[in-house]
Amino acid sequence: MAARLVYIPRMCDHAETLAAALRRCGVPAEVLPPTDEKTLELGRKYTSGKECHPFTVTTGDFLKKITEPGFDPQRSAFLMPTASGPCRFGQYHQTQRIILDRLGYRDVPIFSPDVRDSYGRSMGLGLKFRRLAWRGIVAVDLLNELAAAIRPDEKTSGAADKLHAYYLAMISKAIEAKNGGIFKTVKEMKRDFFALPRLNPGHKPLIGIVGEIFLRCNPACNADIVRKVEKLGGRTYTAPISEWFYYTNLGYIYESWLRRSPQGFARALLADLIQRWDERRLGHRQPSALKLIRLASPYLHHTFKGEAILSIGKALDLIENGAAGIINIMPFTCMPGTVVSAIAKQIEIPWLDVSIDGTEGVNLEIRLEAFMHQAASYKKSVPRARERK
């Protein structure tokens, strides 16, 4: 596999640092070109249209790469992580395998790190890769949070975006470089963001964005929801990507304990501790997975596994911390997302479900405007951080 170039779906900014971590470990890696109309055209052609939207997008991106001149099946591979249910995500790589086979690309492998050991044996690369990848993910989470927090109040339009682009490249560089420097880079990144001149910081209503992981962090596929909210006078906080890994760690710890596997238990616990430590060193904070599950427990039992419990937990945590509205992003017909939207009916806060199928509708704009109108009046009516029920 050493000679194969691994193509990573452009799910979010984190894909860049993941590629950097792979390269640092000697695996040639590249992020797939941005998703566009051609992606959707190819994706729809080879899917039935009933699968979830991220499947259509990633399949389309794979096929777009394959049909590019110069693509070498003998020296290429795709990355598509997997899970063992219960939602549809774990089916992606298998069905993509079928599609590639039908098209005659039997010899192009799809690498699939698995959720069951919390991605522990990621492609046989071991601890070094895992730790590098993790630091990259956390650093980009932090970068995105800083940009989302500062941009709505910036004095000079475009300043935060400029810093964002610069530091995304710097983080990847630091991950890939032999001598590291990620901690220093992140420190400078924080300093530079806070040094940007701002107007009236923190006064705009805060909109929490939760939901399906592929879409919520992917402006090319989520109708650029963050910018739309900002244009309508709000600021956003999007649930970070790293959240999911703490959840899968917890799952691995719990399963090891249930199966009386001290080895697995110790390994999982240790990995989680190291990840937390790294996160703290990078100066990023978030509520623990256990806390989110506890917050969600009046609505959803922890045995219902997957993103839904995180979305509910994170939404409640954000409400506790002064959010004026929640947006739940999901692919059209997403199963966990649909469960979240049912449960949300019992939560008192302006709430908007956004289901994405790849068509541009006038409707989203209308609903978003009315939602922002509600959020603004909600903010007025609940001046301080609200008490959790």
Binding site: D36, E37, R44, K45, Y46, S48, G49, K50, E51, C52, S84, G85, P86, C87, R88, G90, Q91, Q94, T95, I98, R102, E255, L258, Y299, L300, H301, T303, F304, K305, G306, A308, F332, T333, C334, M335, P336, T338, V339, S341, A342, I343, K345, Q346, S355, D357, T359, E360, G361, V362, N363, L364, I366, R367, E369, A370, H373, Q374, S377
Partner: protein, 918 residues
């Protein structure tokens, strides 16, 4: 004197209102946009600006940003208007041309709202279309509804479903006023179910938007919400509430400039440029013009001929062929909801031309109305439209390998090899990519579909992308382009691309597209669509002569080929002299009187749902839904052993389904939605407790695997129900049978403790429950072996047990097959071994794939795979089933709230035909 202009630019009409200083309405207008909202708005504003001095202009609506006025979001505008003018109102229903909204108000402020998101069902345009279809003005439509005493049930989840239901009702001869009332009720129910989605509708209720003028709709809402006559409040300016609210909102937020008069010219802005990436390449000119088909010269003297009639939802076609298969006469008539009338008229026209000289040797009918018309005219043969279309195509091109057929409501794809049908597909639950869609959209753009469409399309240099999904999505994309002011030619050309993309992606899917392609059906006459087909497939597309009547030609040819009696049953060209008797339905020529195979599904219901009822204890309700279709024996025995009286909900009925749709809290799949109805039924039956466990997985077939999950929707059943339904005593323990026997037992013992039972009592109950379940499973397997031993051709229904057995979910497919003399076998009757693999972590998927594998290996068997719209697992499992069943054709049917007998029978018949030939 300060006057303000409020303008509401919608996709169907522009509403303007001039409001004076004292809040008086000085002027109001409502003008249809006819596809050009920007121009209409501009004209109106200029006209008003010339007559009034305006101090400010506030705009709202989907096209509100076409002007540089103070823009107010339409939900905000509507809620501001009602809050200011009628602060006592608690709920607003707003239905306009293309959108509908539900506003929940609290003390004159917007508390919550919902808008139709991905679905345009239940909108004004939909009602307009249906009125046109019935040949009524919208006013007549509205009044007619009040006459109905027994409105029929029409599906309202999607405009397309409702439409096809309506067509089938017409074909059954239901009076217009009942259909109209049924449509209104469907729209109202759809609104409450899909837009409202479990939001509580509190009195007083106001009704805004253009549709509020429709008294039939008002009555339907009163009926659906459960209000008294006249209780729905219609504001005086119901259609103008948006425009009025926009002005009020701007005044309240001080958004108008200080001066008394603004310069009206300043509010017109240049139409924004579109993002180039959403465009297709130009269609170009089609090289060869279609040769106009010539009819054969009528021979002198007496003619011996064969008659074919194709009765479709949109058109009724007749063809008369001589003994040498030459087309002598063809008729293409609009069905217009009255197929009998259309056929009578067509026959009379033939009679007038040559009737006296023709001896009909054989007559065949096809199309969705083939059975009824077959009886009426005395057809010798009644054939499904797949077979008929193929026959028609082969007549013109014996080497044809692919047929694209796009008609009014249906589209088909047929693959042939050496003249035999080897594969086919029909548009599933949606009618996107059909002629009706094109016609509606052309009408909206003010174009004549026959004369102008292609001309406009060929003039476009950058056709708009209009999406390629269902009609509803296409429509909103089109509206989107419209509201941005895209040129008409580009929209039209974009539509040609849409219909083709949709057809190829949704109907043909991954099936083979050959080299010898015929394009048939009414839409084949549209040269722009032909060009789009050629552009996209990169292949030459042939439109045969008489492309619009190939079905009728095929029916005539089949009548000729299968002629088996000296004298035709044909009753003659003048049907006014013929009386219609009702006969037993005839399925594609076979008599239904033959011995029927056993009804295994009824037997299975008996095995699963019979139980000994123990009266006296607390009543515990179990829904006859979802997994209870498999494990009811377990739970009924479990609770009986613990001293409860078990209450089972009734089998699903249309009423139960309707109640379910009105109570649902989210857009889950239909089986989940249906369970709301069962829970309601249990409450009505006086259950003290309702048992809705969150069952995470199924016992693993091998002890190795713990990944044997139920789908997330099944797991979340209690969470869905609790979000839409208030019942204090829902028991919803999380249960994880997939973790093994001991673990599951521990969970049940815990659960038993909550019910006041000790460990021993619960363990006893578990033992009895397991015994009962084993017994039921053994009976099922034993009967399965018995049936399979006979080795008769049969169809396995390889679906989840509830999809196969629940009468609201299976469209009576097992019963219909039985009527046709075909044995239908439930999936769990097959001795198929399931394997749990990491790859297939859903228990349902393991079972479906195991059944598929078994069917593939048994020469006597094929399969019907019943699935649901919005079924997450099946969207992937269906790929795997396709990889598994390779030795023979099988049929996949997607079921929804929509249920249409006629459509299903056609598909079953055509499938049986190709299975028998394969």
């Amino acid at each position: 004197m300060r006057n303000y202009l409020g303008i509401d630019i919608g996709s169907v009409s522009v509403k303007v209102v001039v409001i004076g200083e004292n809040f008086e309405i000085l002027e109001k207008r409502c003008v249809r946009t006819k596809g050009n909202p920007a121009a209409v708005a501009r004209e109106l504003v200029e006209n008003i600006g010339a007559r009034f001095a305006l101090a400010g202009v506030a705009s709202t609506g989907s096209g509100g940003k076409l002007l540089k006025a103070e823009f107010v979001n339409e939900i905000v505008a509507q809620s501001t208007a009602v809050g200011k003018l009628y602060p006592h109102i608690k709920t607003v229903i707003e239905i306009g041309g293309e959108d509908s909204k539900l506003l929940i108000m609290e003390k004159g402020k917007l508390k919550d709202f919902a808008a139709n998101s991905v679905c345009a069902a239940g909108t004004g345009s939909f009602l307009d279309q249906q009125a046109t279809r019935l040949g009524l003005s919208i006013e007549e439509f509205s009044r007619l509804a009040l006459r109905s005493k027994r409105p029929p049930r029409i599906a309202g989840r999607c405009t397309v479903f409702a439409k096809s239901d309506m067509i089938h009702l017409q074909q059954k001869g239901t009076p217009d006023y009942d259909i109209v009332a049924g449509l209104c009720l469907a729209v109202a129910r759809n609104f409450i179910g899909n837009v409202g989605r479990g939001k509580k509708i509190e009195k007083p209720v106001a009704f805004h938007g253009g549709v509020a003028a429709n008294v039939g709709m008002v009555k339907a809402f009163e009926c659906v919400i459960g209000l008294a006559d006249g209780e729905v409040f219609i504001p005086e300016h119901f259609a103008l509430m948006g425009a009025i609210g926009a002005v009020i909102s701007c005044l309240e937020n001080d958004r108008f400039a200080r001066g008394d008069k603004i310069n009206i010219k300043e509010i017109f802005i240049a139409q924004s440029k579109e993002n180039k990436s959403r465009f297709h390449s130009p269609l170009g000119r089609r090289g060869s013009e279609e040769s106009s088909p010539g009819l054969n010269m009528l021979p002198a003297g007496n003619i011996r001929a064969y008659l074919g009639i194709d009765v479709g939802s949109v058109s009724t076609n007749l063809a008369l062929l001589d003994e040498n298969k030459n087309v002598l006469v063809r008729k293409y008539l609009a069905t217009a909801g009255r197929p009998i009338e259309a056929v009578k008229r067509g026959l009379l026209e033939i009679k007038d031309e040559i009737g006296g000289r023709v001896e009909v040797l054989g007559a065949g009918t096809t199309g969705s109305g083939r059975h009824m018309i077959g009886d009426l005219v005395g057809a010798d043969i009644v054939k499904n439209e797949i077979t008929a279309q193929a026959e028609g195509a082969l007549h013109f091109e014996p080497a044809v390998d692919t047929i694209f057929e796009i008609g009014g409501q249906d589209s088909k794809y047929i693959a042939l090899e050496k003249g035999a049908v080897v594969d086919f597909a029909m548009n599933k639950v949606c009618a996107a990519g059909t002629g009706s869609f094109l016609e509606e959209q052309a009408e909206k753009l003010g174009l004549n579909i026959r004369r102008e469409f292609a001309e406009f399309a060929f003039a476009s240099s950058s056709p708009c992308g209009s999406g390629d999904r269902c009609t509803v999505f296409m429509e909103s994309e089109l509206n989107h382009h419209l509201s941005r002011g895209a040129p008409q030619a580009d929209l039209v050309a974009g539509l040609a691309y849409s219909i083709v993309n949709n057809y190829l992606n949704r109907v043909v899917e991954n099936r083979r597209v050959g080299e010898n392609i015929l394009f048939q059906g009414g839409v084949a006459g549209n040269r722009a669509v032909v060009a789009a087909f050629e552009k996209i497939t990169g292949k030459r597309i042939t439109v045969p002569p008489f492309h619009d009547v190939t079905g009728a030609i095929g029916a005539a040819l089949i009548a000729r080929r299968e002629r088996n009696r000296a004298k035709s049953k044909f009753k003659g060209f003048d049907l006014n002299k013929v009386t219609v008797e009702s006969e037993a339905p005839v399925f594609d020529g076979k008599s239904a009187a033959a011995a029927k195979p056993p009804d295994l599904f009824a037997e299975r219901d008996e095995i699963i749902f019979s139980y000994k009822k123990i009266s006296g204890g607390k009543k515990i309700g179990l829904p006859r839904a979802l997994l209870f279709y498999e494990n009811f024996p377990f739970w009924s025995a479990f609770f009986s052993a613990l001293g409860f009286e078990v209450v089972l909900s009734d089998a699903s009925t249309p009423e139960l389904a309707r109640a379910a749709i009105e109570n649902k809290a989210a857009e889950a799949c239909f089986p989940i939605t249906l369970s709301y109805g069962h829970v309601r039924d249990l409450a009505a039956k006086g259950a003290d407790l309702i048992f809705l466990p969150s069952v995470i997985g199924q016992p693993a077939p091998s002890s190795e695997s713990a990944e044997n999950f139920n789908c997330p929707f099944i797991q979340a059943l209690p969470y869905f129900i609790k979000a839409g339904f208030n019942h204090d005593n829902i028991l919803s323990p999380p249960l994880e049978p997939q973790r093994g026997k001991a673990f599951f037992e521990k969970q049940l013992i815990n659960f038993g403790r909550g019910l006041g039972k000790n460990k021993k009592e619960t363990q006893d109950a578990i033992r009895q429950a397991q015994e009962k379940l084993r017994e039921a499973e053994q009976r099922i397997k034993a009967r399965g072996r018995e049936v399979l031993k006979q080795n008769v051709p049969a169809l396995a229904i390889i679906s989840r047990s509830y999809n196969g057995s629940d009468p609201a979910l299976n469209l009576n497919i097992p019963q219909k097959l039985r009527e046709m003399g075909v044995l239908a076998i439930p999936a769990d009757y097959l001795p198929a071994e399931t394997e749990a693999t990491a790859a297939m972590y859903w228990s349902c998927g393991q079972k479906i794939l195991a059944a598929a594998k078994f069917v593939d290996r048994q020469p006597a068997l094929s399969a019907v795979y019943i699935t649901n719209f919005r079924c997450g697992p099946d969207s992937f499992i269906s790929h795997l089933v396709k990889e598994t069943i390779t030795a023979k054709p099988y049929l996949q049917i997607e079921v929804d709230e929509h249920s249409s007998d006629t459509g299903i029978i056609t598909r079953l018949e055509a499938f049986l035909e190709s299975w028998q030939r394969a």
